[in-house]
Structure formats: C-alpha cells, structure tokens
C-alpha cells in the first residue's frame, strides 16, 4: 500500500517497476548462466583434469612398463640364452647403471642352481651384490604372492631391509622352467620416484594429483601425512564419508570417472578425476577444489552482477530525468486545474511542447476550460431566470393562499355556521380550491374544486374559479346555474384543455335547505351527531371546462342540527402507502368511523392526520384539500 506521496510519483513507480522487472531478468540470467557455464566450465575443467591424469599416467606407466620389459628380458636371457651368472650380473649391472629409476634387482630362490638369493643395487655409481641370508624373505608379499599365483606381481610399497632400506615398489616375475618354479626376478623402483612424478609440475596447472594402490592406500599425495598411513577407505571411515569410500572402490576396481567429494576430509569440497594405470592397476587421481573449479563461473557471475547494477542505475537515472521532464508540465496543469476548480476560469493553461500526449492534454484542458466557462455563464443565466420564476411562484402562492378563506369559528359572524378548511398543496402552488361566502344575508355558498394538473396552469385555473364564483354568485342563486356559468367561462377562457371537478352547495340559512351540484367531484359526506354518516355519490354532470352549455343538475338536502358536511379532493383518496395502495373511498370511510364527534376543525385535522399516517414513507404526493362545514338550524336551535 502506498503510504507516502513520493511512493506514488511516476518516477518512483517506473523505477520500481523497472527494478522488479530487471531483478527477475537478472535472476533468470544468473540461473541460466550458472547452469550453462557450470556445465561448460565443468566439462572444460574435467578435460584439464583428465589431461593431467593422462600425463601422470603416461609418465608412470612408461617407467613401470620399462621395468616390466627389463624383467621379461632378464628372464628370457636366463631361460633362452643360458647366460652364466657372471654374464647375467653384467647385464643387470648395466641395466642398473643406465636406468636410475631402477632402484635394485633381486634374484631370489633357485635362479642359479646352488646359488643363494641376491640383491643387486648401485650406490654412488658402484655396483653392489649382497646375499640374502635366512628364509624370512619367503614369507614376504613380493616373493610369496607371485610364487603362489604364478603370475607377475607389482607389490604394494614396502621397505627392503636387505637392500638400501628405502620404500620401494617391486615388479616380481616368477621363473618357471618346464612347469617347475625355479626362482623369481624382482625389479625395484624407489617409491619416491613415482611420488615426484605425481607431485611434479606439468603442463596442466590444475589441482593436485595423488596415487592409490590396489588396496586403496594413498601412495602419493600432496599431504605427506597421509602417504602410506591412510587409505581412501580409512579416511572415509574416519570422516564418515560414504562418497569417499565409493571413490576408493571405483579406483581400486580400475574404473575411471569423476566424483564430487563433500565433507571435512582431506578430499572434502573437491572434484576428483580418477583413472587407472595400465601397468600395475594402481589409480591416479586429480583433486581440484570446487571453489577453484568454479572460479571462472563466479567471475562471470560477478561481472554479470556489476553490469546489471550499472545498467539498472543508468536506466533509473534516465527514467527519473525523463519523468521529471514529463511531470513538470503535468504539475503546472494540476495547479491550473486547481485554480479552475476554485472558480478562476481565466487561469492560464501552461503550454508544453515536450511530448505529444502532454501537449494534447493541455489543449484538451484549455478546451475544457473554455467549455466550462460557457457552461457556467449559461448556468448562471438559467439560474437567474429560475430564481425569477421561483419568486413569481412564491408570490403566486401567497396570492392563492389569500384567495382561500381564513378559518374562523363562525364565518361572517353567523352563529349557525362553523367551517374549517385545509389546503395542503403538493408544491408551492396547487390546483385545489375551497371557498365559502355569503351570496346575500340568507344564503351561504361553499365550493370545493380540483383542477386537473398541477403547477402554474392549474393555479391560474383555480384563481379564475375562486375569483369568478363570488362575483357572479349574486346573479345565479342556484348551484347548477352558477356552475353552468363557470363551465362556460372555463370553456371559453381555459388556454389549456384543463377541466375542473367541483362540488358547490348553497345553504338557505333560514330553512336549512341545502341545494348542491357535484360536477365530476368526489362524493359529499354528511356526518350526524351520532357519528354516523351518509355518502352522496351522485354527480350532476361531468367535470367543468370541457363541454360548453353542458346541462348540470342539482339535489337538495334539508340539513338538521349537527349535520357536518365533509368535502375533500382526490389528494385524500389517492393517497398511497408504501405498497403503492390507494386509500380510496373505503379507506376514507374507515377514517370517518374513527373520528370524534362532529366539529369542523377536529374533523378536518383528524382526517389530515390519518391520511398522513397512511401515506408515511410514500414518495407520491398530491394536493390535499378538506372542507368541513357544520350547520345548526336556527329554528331548531
């Protein structure tokens, strides 16, 4: 989650993205390089190790094979050419003198009839011949093994106390004459000679070589402590290294190959290449520390790492500089946008030429600024006009309210009458109307009307009705005549095709007789003192303002004491609850039944309260008008 402003900058995000991307590429590249170069360099190094081993093997084998050939020639000389002992000794002394790698020669057992075994060697360019006393030699490996196996035998390193007392290895060739063992010729090589070859420097400068005998004994090794003391198996045992034991088995069994040795042994952490000698089946090993082996890979990886870091840093700097260049006009644009947002539509939009996108954005911004300016100007005009209209509407509303009679306990001071009216428009002005007035001293006229539609037109129609009726009432004393006149007026003067429902009644205050006409309006209800009520559903014509000269009928009712006339508009019956259900006439009658005893004010307010309760939460609203009139007959009172 980005917590700081800097973290959200374009430069930061671009550099982060590039870093993450390059990191992935770099890691993948390291893995691929390591895998690839590991193999290549390993193969290369193994080749070097193999060449080094070949070089050592070639040097040692050439000596051992030469010694073998000397021994074979010597045996051939004895068996086939019948050399005398003196002639044979002369040949052997010459061999010793001319071949310094031949340390000594032994003629054992009955090589020459009746002669004791002898050891021949040179020292300081002098030839020595010593007789071997006793028979102890017969139990030594060099004598016993070839005698028993009847095969030539290369010994393990041993010390010949009869000779020069140095550690040697010997090639022992048994002599059989006509199937009978007649003796043995032994040619010795000083072990140090082979050790020098193993430890000597060669063409291939890699690792260190070692030599292992057929029992796994380390015959030559850079660590002199190990020589002749340890075998690969004893080291494997001491350091608990099964891999080293595997190496030992592979070497003593004459195999060739390479293996990685882990652990803390003297061979730990090295790769070893091994290959047997052809002559005596000893094995030459070349050990190279893995670190050395992999030095080239590590160098390549180091170069790769440094190069990657440099590339990343260069790219980061370029991105940072470029994003700064891009973000500077963006920042100026943002400042201009802030000023425009604050209402300064004349703020200067910066012009940028450093990229097409930024330039396009600036142009778009300027266009938007211009559009905004026009829009705001138009909006201001419209708002002014609207405000003007609204003021007019409010004024009209006030006029409309003044056209409605003010509620007083006894209208016009007439004690027989009580009236209470409520007009609750849905908007500022409405299309409903109620009114009552005296036609003369004896006749009380009341009316309730509902103009189709809402707003100004309905209000105008309503104003016409409420203005016209009182002015013409003295000339037309019947409800039907009065409404007929109103109908014709509306038909002639109504601009819109609005029609008006109306219920108009005239009460003769002396007789208590009420004449009334219902022109498409809701029924009249009359409540009695006992809270019972009567509904007068009949209408005497259709709504006004539609058909000129339309015949209108009337009815008469004799009011008795306590009769309460209840008139209302469709805002009551069409009130809807949250389930979009109308209250309806039946709902209205339900309200009537719950009302307290007749009293115009409490009845009107009670009805309004129940209607509000029913329509609570509903979105639909209509003008609501209620007029309740209570007449008390003077004679009866």
């Amino acid at each position: 989650m980005l917590s700081k402003k800097e973290d959200r900058t374009l430069a930061y995000q671009l550099i982060s993205f590039v870093f993450a991307f390059m990191l992935i590429i770099f890691l993948a590249s390291i893995l691929v390089t390591r895998a690839f170069y590991n193999r290549v360099i390993m193969d290369n190094q193994l080749d070097n190790m193999r060449h080094l081993a070949h070089e050592r093997i070639h040097l040692i084998d050439s000596i051992l094979f030469r010694v073998e050939s000397f021994a074979t020639m010597s045996r051939t000389a004895i068996l086939n050419y019948g050399l005398s002992e003196e002639q044979h000794f002369a040949f052997l002394s010459e061999t010793l003198m001319e071949n310094p790698q031949v340390h000594s020669i032994c003629l054992a057992d009955r090589v020459y009839e009746g002669k004791e075994p002898r050891i021949l060697y040179t020292m300081r360019h002098r030839f020595y011949s010593r007789v071997i006393r006793g028979t102890e030699y017969r139990y030594q490996d060099w004598f016993q093994i070839p005698q028993m196996t009847q095969k030539p035998y290369w010994t393990e390193p041993w010390v010949d106390t009869e000779g020069k007392g140095e550690m040697i290895i010997s090639y022992c060739l048994p002599i059989f004459e006509k199937g009978v063992n007649t003796g043995l010729i032994r040619f010795d090589i000083e072990l140090g000679y082979l050790q020098e070859i193993i430890s000597g420097s060669g063409y291939f400068k890699i690792g260190s070589s070692f030599l292992v005998s057929t029992t796994g004994t380390l015959v030559a090794h850079s660590n002199t402590e190990l020589i002749m003391n340890q075998s690969l198996f004893s080291i494997a045992e001491e350091y608990q290294s099964p891999v080293l034991a595997d190496l030992g088995k592979a070497m003593v069994s004459g195999k060739q190959g390479h293996i990685k040795i882990n652990g803390k042994s003297p061979f730990g952490g090295t790769w070893v290449y091994y290959q047997p000698l052809q002559s005596n089946h000893w094995s030459v090993g070349v050990a190279v520390e893995e670190d050395v082996l992999m030095r080239e890979v590590d160098t390549i990886l180091m170069i790769q790492t440094i190069a990657s870091i440099l590339i990343f840093l260069s790219v980061a700097i370029i991105i940072y500089a470029r994003t700064l260049n891009v973000s500077r006009p963006l920042k100026r644009l943002a400042i201009a946008a802030d000023r425009i947002g604050a209402g300064d539509f004349d703020a200067q939009i910066p012009v940028s030429n450093n990229s097409f996108e930024i330039s396009t954005l600036a142009q778009s911004f300027a266009a938007m600024q211009s559009s905004l300016k026009d829009y705001i100007r138009n909006l201001r005009i419209t708002t002014d006009e609207k405000n003007q209209i609204r003021g007019d509407v409010i004024y009209a509303s006030e006029i409309q309210n003044k056209l409605i009679p003010t509620n007083t306990t006894h209208p016009f001071g007439i004690k027989e009458l009580r009236a209470y009216g409520i007009l609750e428009p849905a908007g500022d002005i409405g299309g409903d109307l109620y009114d009552y007035f005296m036609i003369d001293d004896e006749h009380f006229c009341f009316v309730i009307a509902d103009v189709l539609g809402k707003g100004i037109v309905a209000a105008m129609a309503m104003t016409m009705v409420s203005t016209l009726l009182p002015s013409i009432a003295p000339y037309y004393k019947t409800s039907n005549e009065l409404l007929g006149k109103l109908n014709n007026f509306l038909c002639r003067n109504n601009i819109e095709t609005n029609f008006v429902t109306a219920l108009l009644g005239i009460i003769d205050l002396k007789t208590g007789r009420m004449q009334y006409s219902n022109c498409g309006h809701l029924p009249l209800f009359i409540r009695k003192m006992d809270r019972s009520y009567t509904r007068y559903p009949d209408t005497h014509s259709t709504a006004l303002g539609v058909f000129e000269d339309m015949p209108i009928d009337y009815d008469e009712i004799d009011l008795i004491i306590g009769d309460e006339l209840i008139l209302f508009t469709d805002g009551i019956t069409e009130a809807m609850n949250t389930k979009d259900e109308f209250l309806g006439i039946s709902g209205f009658e339900e309200i009537l039944r719950k009302l307290p005893p007749p009293n115009p004010e409490t009845t009107a307010k009670g009805i309004l309260s129940e209607v509000h309760k029913y329509a609570r939460g509903a979105t639909h609203k209509d003008d609501i008008t209620i007029l309740v009139i209570d007449y008390k007959h003077p004679t009866i009172s």
Binding site: G134, E136, L232
Partner: protein, 338 residues
C-alpha cells in the same frame, strides 16, 4: 618439621592431586596406587615384549608406562621392540624377555612336556579370531573352507585356528604367512586368519566390504577359549611373584585409563607408531581400541583373570584334538589362581 613428616605431607598432597584429576575424567580412575618410589634405581626392572609391533592392541601397557603406573608399583618396565625373527615366546624362553604376550592355546602347546611358561594374567577374555573368505571366490559357508588354502600365521596366534579346524573336522591347506593381508587381497589364499581387532579391519580398509565376505567367528562358532595373556617363566614367577602381580595390576589400570581416555590414548599410540615408522591411521587404531575393550573388559571384575572354566575347556580341547599328552593342573599353569 622433621624430614619424615615432610615426606608424609608431600605424599598425601600428591595423592590428593592425583585423585582429584582422575575423579573428573572417569569414576573407574578412582584407583589407589602405591606410592611412587623416589629413586628409579630402586625400581624392579622388567623387560616386556608384546607379541606385535606398536598398536592399540597394547595401549594399556603404553598408558601404564606413560602415566607412570608401573613406577608407582615399583617397576621399571622396558618395552622391547618386536623382532620378526624372534617371536615373543622364543624371546622369553631364550631369556631375552621377562614377561611376554602369548595366546593361551599357543602357551599350552609349549607346555606339552613340561610347564615352560606360566600365566600371570589372562588379558583377553574371548577368542578374537575370524576366518575370512571372499564370497566371490565361492566361500559362502564353513563347509566351503574344505580343501581351500588358508593363510595362517607361521608363528604366534595360530593354535586357535588349528584347533578350530580340527574341532570342526575341516581339512585345509595351510599356507604360512607373516602378517600381510595382501595374499588374501590378491587371491593367493582363499581364506585368511584375521583378528577381529586388526587384520579383519585392514581387509575392510582395503575396500572389501564385509557383505562380500563370509566370516567365521570362532567365538560364535563354539571355540570360546580366550586368547592373549601375560606369561613368564615359572622360575621368574617363583622369584618375583609380587612384581608379576604389580605388573598385572598396573597394566590393567593402564587399560582402564586407556578405555576412559580414548582420544588421549589414540594420540599416544599414533605418535609411537610414527616414531617407529609404522603405517598408522586413526580410524584403524580406534577400531582396535574399541575391540580390545570388548575383549579385555566384559566386566571390571573379570579383568586379567584366567577363569578355571576357560582353562579347563582349553585343556580338554588340546588333549582331545591336538594330541596334548597330559593335563596340567590349573594352579600350576596359573599360580595366582584363587
């Protein structure tokens, strides 16, 4: 303070120092030693000749010398070099040594006519000899030994194997050898006589796995006569019985020290081997020391004792299978018998 009191205090302090040191390392070191003689010229000289060259097989003797245990018992022990031309027992009979290492059966074999040597301690309490053959050469059971070539030491510890073959009725062609396992490695012999603590491990260290070998362990196959012990001439014992016992006691203490201080002991053994120009590797000497512990110390109470049961069994077998002409009383052969 007079001189006698000073000497007494010094001896007590010395004893305390020694006991403190040994208590830290091992409870078995809680041994009491007689006071060290103050003058080496007053020590009794003993020439000890082990049966083989320097190795952990004799670590108890080395540690007894190195730690001054013999001197504390009033002995001046000279560790003689082994001569291949003169086996230890020959040196003893020739008067070239006073105490030597000999196997019980070989010692008995020397006493056919008369008791030339007597046992003063039975060091090993078991028969450690294995007969080993390669499965690849068709040796998979004891029966496969029949008629095969057996490399057997021409002197020294060879009587156990001769008796074993006679006891099992297995004729073999005996090839006398000195000590090398190369005859076996080169298949010059089919079977080789090997001590579990030495040659057997050398074979393993030559890269031959024990799974590839058939191993006849004489102890497990019924020949339980123990092998190595200390021997002296009877007249030497009669003349110096206390010195013989002191030698045995100090040597056993040396073994106890060696078993409880393995690394120190191995360090000393390897150092001595290098001084003698012998091939030495720690793994082999560790193996040997471990096996010597099994052989020498089945329990501390048994250490150094030639048990009557073992002796009589050896006597019976020698008479039955090796034509031994007489029964030598236990007490005559082992004068320290209780």
């Amino acid at each position: 303070m007079d001189v006698q009191k000073r000497i007494l205090v010094m001896l007590i302090l010395f004893g305390l120092m020694f006991s403190c040191k040994t208590q830290k390392s091992d409870s078995r070191d809680e041994l009491t030693y007689p006071k060290a003689a103050s003058d080496s010229t007053s020590l009794f000289p003993i020439r000890f000749r082990p049966k083989w060259q320097t190795q952990a097989q004799f670590a108890g003797v080395y540690m007894a010398i190195h730690k001054g245990l013999y001197a504390q018992h009033g002995l001046d022990v000279q560790l003689q070099s082994v001569l291949l031309t003169e086996p230890a027992v020959d040196a003893l009979l020739q008067g070239h040594g006073d105490i030597v290492h000999v196997d019980l059966l070989n010692a008995l074999d020397l006493c056919r006519e008369q008791t030339k040597i007597v046992n003063i301690a039975q060091i090993n309490q078991k028969n450690s000899v294995y007969l080993v053959g390669k499965k690849s050469n068709g040796i998979n059971s004891l029966e496969d030994f029949r008629g095969k070539r057996l490399g057997l030491w021409r002197s020294g510890s060879n009587m156990a194997t001769r008796l074993f073959l006679a006891q099992k009725g297995i004729p073999m062609e005996i090839i006398n050898i000195d000590w090398s396992i190369n005859l076996f490695a080169q298949n010059a012999v089919d079977v080789i006589n090997a001590m579990d603590y030495n040659e057997f491990h050398q074979i393993l260290q030559a890269g031959i796995d024990s799974e590839d070998l058939f191993i006849a362990k004489q102890q497990e196959l019924g020949l339980t006569v123990p092998d190595e012990g200390f021997y002296v001439r009877p007249e030497f014992y009669k003349a110096h019985p206390n010195e013989c016992r002191a030698f045995v006691k100090a040597t056993l203490d040396g073994w106890l020290y060696a078993f409880s201080h393995e690394q120190e002991t191995l360090d000393l053994v390897l150092k001595m081997m290098k001084e003698d120009n012998l091939r030495a590797n720690r793994a082999h000497q560790q193996w040997m020391l471990n096996h010597m512990k099994d052989a020498i110390m089945p329990s501390i109470a048994e250490m150094g004792i030639l048990k009557r049961k073992n002796y009589e069994e050896a006597m019976d077998l020698m008479i039955k299978y090796m034509g031994f002409p007489r029964r030598i009383p236990y007490e005559e052969f082992y004068p320290d018998a209780e």
